[in-house]
């Protein structure tokens, strides 16, 4: 790429042309890095932002049917980007003794469809790919790889079931 006529006689000495070529490459690399790093940060930024949610009321313990996963829906305020919106989330609450409760998301662990309780069959069904879960959310049949996700909850003094906003 370098013209032989432009080379210096001393092969060890940096020629003007070589100096310029190296300078251009160095400056180019500097600009590339100083812009490339912020660009990556800029693009992945939404994935880095986390929202700390408060506790929301799901329902009363007395509303939970004994031995049947009972679906509760709750509206959660969510800020996505610059848009504030209300999102409906649904959770199964399950109890066998009205003392110990299990709260789990109704989002299927396969590919994120919403599951529901199938009264006749006695299982939780995901309609998308025929995934079956038992009353505790364990997989009985179909493609789901994991049990339904358990959700952290607390029961307050007035017997309200509270869950943490996700």
């Amino acid at each position: 790429m370098t013209d032989p006529q432009m080379e210096n006689e001393d092969p060890h000495e940096l020629s003007r042309r070589e100096f310029m070529e190296r300078s251009i490459k160095a400056i180019g690399a500097f600009i590339g890095i100083t812009l490339g790093v912020p660009t990556v940060g800029y693009l992945i930024s939404p994935a880095l932002q986390q929202q700390a949610g408060g506790w929301v009321r799901l329902g009363r313990t007395s509303e939970v049917e004994m031995g049947v996963p009972t679906l509760f829906t709750v509206t959660i305020d969510k800020t996505t980007g610059w848009v504030q919106s209300e999102i409906d989330m649904a959770y199964f609450v399950y109890t066998e003794d009205s003392v110990n409760f299990t709260v789990m998301s109704n989002i299927c662990t396969h590919l994120g469809c919403r599951t529901h309780w199938n009264e006749a069959g006695g299982y939780i069904l995901c309609p998308c790919h025929d995934g079956h879960f038992d009353v505790q959310g364990n997989v009985i049949a179909g493609p789901p790889p994991r049990p339904l996700k358990r959700v952290e909850f607390q029961v307050d003094a007035n017997n309200n079931i509270l869950i943490q906003e996700a």
């Binding site: 790429m1 912020p38 980007g81």
Partner: protein, 230 residues
């Protein structure tokens, strides 16, 4: 060198490098770098503009909020938007200086008239970029600047009102105005810019750059020297 040779054998990339980047030019001065500087800023505007479009939404209920989100919430959003914002001003200034250099040095003369004409088109395209981009943040300054700027169109005799309606997409500034300014800014103008820049640069390389006026008596570089020899 294996890959380079493989590629060169099939594409002639080394000749392209020699003709485009390692071409010989007369001894000139810093004034001759203004075109390259403008080109550099153009690349900056394209890259940062594409990045802004990742978050920006061109509707009245989202435009300002999305820009505010870029500026204050997105990591390095202030930097990307700042580069686009100030790069735009710098580009208008550099395009002007570049043109003044060409005028003073008489570089528009034969055989470079077509280079000059495409350059004037690029000046107009750059100004159109600035005008349409100014509205996009949809803040008070943008809104009223575009109100005034489009009002000029309305003063055209006979067809003024009709043209104003075309530019605004209605009698007043609205969602339609914002959408068409956005579409113009990110699709129409870039397509025009890249086409005309392509012609402009092809001519610069084909014709070589002009000698400075104080070297009038020196012969220009023979055309052969810029031709690929292999």
């Amino acid at each position: 060198m294996g890959l380079g040779q493989w590629l060169n054998e099939r594409t002639g990339i080394n000749d392209v490098y020699r003709v485009v980047l390692a071409r010989k030019i007369p001894k000139t001065g810093w004034a001759y770098t203004l075109g390259s500087a403008t080109l550099f800023l153009m690349v900056n505007q394209i890259v940062t503009g594409i990045l802004l479009s990742i978050y920006y939404v061109p509707t009245p209920d989202h435009a300002w909020d999305s820009v505010n989100y870029i500026q204050n919430e997105v990591l390095f959003g202030w930097l990307i938007r700042g580069l686009h914002h100030f790069g735009a001003s710098a580009m208008v200034i550099l395009v002007g200086l570049h043109m003044i250099r060409v005028v003073i040095y008489g570089a528009y003369k034969y055989p470079r008239e077509v280079t000059w004409i495409t350059g004037v088109l690029l000046l107009i395209i750059t100004m159109a970029f600035g005008f349409t981009g100014y509205l996009l943040p949809w803040d008070q300054k943008a809104y009223w600047a575009t109100t005034v700027g489009t009002q000029f169109v309305g003063t055209t005799p006979v067809v003024g009102d009709w043209m104003l309606n075309v530019v605004r997409g209605g009698p007043d500034l609205s969602a339609v105005t914002l959408a068409r300014f956005f579409g113009t800014h990110v699709w129409v103008l870039p397509a025009a810019l890249l086409t005309v820049v392509g012609i402009h640069l092809f001519l610069v390389i084909r014709l070589g750059i002009s000698n400075p006026p104080w070297k009038k008596n020196q012969p220009q570089l023979p055309r052969d020297e810029t031709e690929p020899s292999a």
